[in-house]
């Protein structure tokens, strides 16, 4: 295990290094002059020169890259052009809300997807299977921004069952202010026993989380089904049947655990994908997370901010992948032995 761990860590570091270089390269593709973007179109020549010096745009590219990496590692992620704040602070503020939203979505996806996958595998080739397969294909085919608009229009603006936008009712900040520990509103409200904010947050979470959950739920259902069918055709399933267990027991009590392995390794991919899908959904529901920040940055062509978001999500993805690989050791003893 230690050697496997070291190799895996080395790989991750290499990928992160590549991710930084690639992000840097994309940001230098900007056709316009970043100095102009920062100083504004009416800037004087002196102001422009000053901006160029500040951003180090006069240096050769390798030097710029080196400076970029040095700044990143030193915690300087640049300054956002539209909030005029350090990008790192902006990200630090926005990320917990995204984590809250995507976390809720993934929980919904697992809670819905795994049982649906089990039902499909149990009744393979029959009606429940066909309906699960078709609906999971629908779920992965739906454009999230459109689904977000549709659910918002029908269930929030129309029927009024759920709040239209935001993370929680802002007026609650006066009546029952929230103490921050994790910066994740729902978690902080829960551990401080702030019920008004907790219930308000949960109500605000439902629609955006459902929209983001559609894709991962579909993927999880399909994957669970396929893995269960494969697992239940193996030798050990035959032995389990010969020990007197019925089909349902073989699937849920024996095949499910090894089958969850591929599903788990998918979660990292789906997590990153969902954060990015969240970009579109957060903008619709005005959720104060990375996505809304990214959407605002895109609108104002705020390259440092976009670079920051891109880098953060890519690194998150690498870390999530690593975590999943290590987690698999817990689920599958064979991996642990490696």
């Amino acid at each position: 295990m230690p050697r496997y761990l070291i190799r895996r860590l080395g790989q991750a570091v290499l990928v992160v290094a590549g991710v930084i270089v690639l992000t840097f390269a994309i940001m230098r593709l900007v056709p316009g002059d970043p100095a102009v973007a920062y100083a504004g179109p009416k800037a004087t020549a002196a102001e422009l020169a000053d901006a160029r010096r500040r951003f180090g745009l006069d240096d050769p590219l390798p030097v710029q890259l080196w400076n970029y990496v040095r700044d990143l590692l030193g915690g300087d992620w640049g300054t956002s052009l539209h909030t005029r704040q350090p990008v790192r602070d902006d990200l630090f503020q926005a990320f917990p809300a995204s984590l809250e939203l995507v976390g809720a979505a993934l929980i919904i996806a697992l809670v819905a997807g795994i049982p649906l996958g089990i039902a499909a595998a149990r009744y393979k080739g029959r009606l429940p299977d066909l309906s699960v397969r078709l609906s999971s294909m629908l779920a992965v085919s739906v454009p999230v921004f459109w689904l977000a608009l549709a659910l918002q229009t029908v269930f929030a603006s129309g029927l009024g069952w759920f709040p239209v936008a935001g993370e929680y009712d802002a007026s609650l900040d006066r009546t029952s202010p929230l103490h921050l520990y994790t910066n994740i509103t729902a978690v902080d409200a829960l551990i401080t026993g702030n019920w008004p904010i907790l219930t308000s947050t949960l109500a605000h979470l439902v629609l955006p989380a459902l929209v983001i959950a559609a894709y991962p739920a579909g993927v999880v259902a399909q994957m669970t089904r396929a893995a269960l069918i494969e697992e239940s055709s193996r030798d050990h399933a035959r032995l389990e049947r010969a020990l007197g267990f019925g089909e349902t027991a073989v699937l849920t009590r024996f095949a499910l655990r090894p089958a969850l392995n591929p599903v788990l390794s998918l979660i990292a991919l789906v997590f990153a994908y969902s954060i990015v899908n969240g970009f579109l959904v957060e903008a619709v529901f005005n959720w104060p997370g990375l996505g809304r920040y990214a959407a605002d940055s895109i609108r104002s062509l705020d390259t440092p901010a976009i670079a920051g978001v891109t880098l953060l999500v890519a690194v998150l993805y690498v870390v999530a992948n690593l975590a999943v690989d290590l987690l698999q050791g817990v689920v599958d003893p064979r991996v642990r032995a490696r």
Partner: protein, 285 residues
Amino acid sequence: MTAPALTTFRRTPLRHLAGVDRLAVAGGVLLGIVVLAALLAPWIAPYPDDGGSATHPLEALLPPSGAHWFGTDQVGRDVLSRVLFGARTSLLIAVAVLAISGVAGVGLGVVAGYAGGWARDVIMRVTDIFLAFPALLLSLALAVVLQPSVTTVIVAIAVTWWPWYARLTASVAASVATRGFVDSARCLGVPAPLIVLRHVLPNSLTPVLVQLSLDGGGVILTAAALSYLGLGAHEPTSEWGLMVQQGQSLFTTDWWVVTFPGLAILVTAFSFNVLGEGLRARLSR
């Protein structure tokens, strides 16, 4: 081994397999309808000029009726006509992205898989880096720094898409390269490029083709998202994502402006997914 298939061979799979074929056929038919709509848009659209920049201010935001099945938009254009023309944009993007990233990915993948050694290591590490970005994220970053246009969308998505095909092809090509007929070609002194072109490539293509059809839906969704964010097609091009963006503030009052383009994206992505699923199930038998 004695009769290994017994416990796995049940009565249901026969029906199941027939169902899979039906699935592939259903996906194909659905996609065929979308393709036909795209090809015939200028002739079947009730108001062909509305696919472009025509405006009819007096007919703005009419609800669906006999004259306008899908209603009209903010400037009075027929939504059905724009949805039909939108199929052209979406399918053009999908075909271009899949072609570019398919050719680039398969090319690099075959080299990596056949050559092995450091070439494989370098190519695979580079794909690792690209794959660390969720596709929509990298395309977003690229589309932001380039000028918003359909071409930008194609380039931005293709850049993020090729590594999948490179990986897939590399693993298939590596296994093809160890087969007997490749060995014998090598022994006969056939030059490596010719071996790759004649033997390795054709035998590595099938899984990639299935993957391409599965990915059509993903490309359509990503492209629509980019246009929705204002990074892709712009007025007066008919593009579904753009139509949703332009109509989103009207959803509560004039639902048809947003509903039909969104459904068009859904149906197209769904048809790719159903077709791909059906093909995959068929080929993995």
